[in-house]
Amino acid sequence: MEPVVEVRGLEKRYGRVAALAGVELDIRPGEIFGLLGPNGAGKTTLISIVAGLVRATAGEARVLGRDVVRDYAFTRRVVGLVPQEINFDPFFTVEEALRFQAGYFGVRLAEERLVELLAALELLDKRAAHTRGLSGGMKRRLLIAKALVHDPRVLFLDEPTAGVDVELRRGLWRYVRRLRDRGTTVVLTTHYLEEAEELADRIGVIDRGRLVLVEDTRALLRRHGAKTLRLALDRPLAAVPPALAALGARLEEGGAAVSVEVPAGEAFGPFLAAAAAAGVAVRDVETHRTTLEDVFVRLVRAGAAGAAPPGPRAGETP
């Protein structure tokens, strides 16, 4: 399957600072790709270069096999970008903003398409409203509508839910999934690891201008993930029973609780059976699953310490 976006040896320098230092990346058609990284890691720079907003210092980026600099007239027609910062032109209405944006892409916006976009982003009743009168959430939805107005094959969402409330965030997630289901490839940068975990088919982690990992989200969580079972006890134990110790259990809270951590794919059954056989009186049970956030923090810490990050390298297919 030919990648929709190909990035090869991409570098961007601002004076002595390397915002991107040789990034290699393929984005597959029809996927939601989550680009994660701390502030200043290079996420926005990377997608801005592909969208044509920023020029690379070295390397190349291709969309549908065409170079984003040499064939910009083609690549920009198939790319949509929702910028991180909310922007709006206070002189115009929502409808005018969308019609102008379509016109910049050489498209005369049909009435049905306009209504479809406004309805999908819950802006239908704001069609004639001036953009300055919209709430923050509406302005962000308008940005998304503007990025979709020319029906792009690839949509870049730069921190799409930064500063929006939970309800709107969930609504946007639903809409992004609908876009993916209709065949649009979506690349999103986010600080919200929950968002990436919820939405992304694959994850890329970028840190200090280098892509340190690209992996299928579920595989990443499976491989790095673990789950913990914690039993709060009726009667404190002085020591871990041997059958439980053999499974890796340890005492907590001075013997008032016992816990065990197992890889994400394994079951707690043997531990629970051993606890029952050892006569452990259980008062309460708690479980915890490793989140993408735990994995992300581990990866970025490993990178900061200069260690090779675990897992497949960027560009490899897991």
């Binding site: 910009y72 910062e85 016109g103």
Partner: protein
Amino acid sequence: MISIRLQTLFVKEVRRFLRVPGQTLLSPVVTTTLYFVVFGWALGARLRMVDGVPYGRFIVPGLVTLGVLSNAYLNSSSSLFVMKIQGTVVDLLVSPLTHAEVLAGFVGASVVRGLAVGLVTWGVAGLFGGFSVAHPALALLVLVLAAITFGALGFVTAIWASSFEQVNFIPTFIITPLTFLGGVFYSASMLPPALRGFTHANPIFYVVDVVRFGMLGVSDASPWVGGLLLACLACLAVGGAWLLLRSGYRLRG
């Protein structure tokens, strides 16, 4: 064949200044009226005729030129600069608009606003000094060239500027002084030789002079010199703006 992209940008830019007509089109009426009250009537009563033309009529081409130049400049500079500040310039930068289309959209709208203000100024001034156009096609051509030049200059300034102060620097310290010292209110022949030399070194003098030839049929210098100079300035300004836009300077990271 004009692309949908260019048509859209041009229409949007024209509609933008039409949304605030009080600021963009009507304020020149007040300014022109004041100039006529102060200069046309107060001074005109003493000077009566300049180069064989009543003073009230003599100052009309200069005032029209001032209106065209400053409004052409203000349109492109304020629009693009505000887009940079608001972040809406991203809409253009990620689109397939070519550099030439972006420049043509901004400069084209600047020409429309410059000429609209020039027309309003001419209409108001005509009420005071009388209407006359000796060479209408030439006058229009010269004013269009002047609007293109200053529209492109405004575009360049907006790309370069990082504050409103920098955007306002050009009209405050360059356009207005050079226009006022470029023979709007007087003929260069009325000046002592030293000041006349200074006036002849001012490029806006030739612009005002050739517009005056187009409107009144009188001029201090050869209208060919003014016309040629203006054509060169327009080419330089547009060429420079295109090169700057193509370089990505201060727009594309």
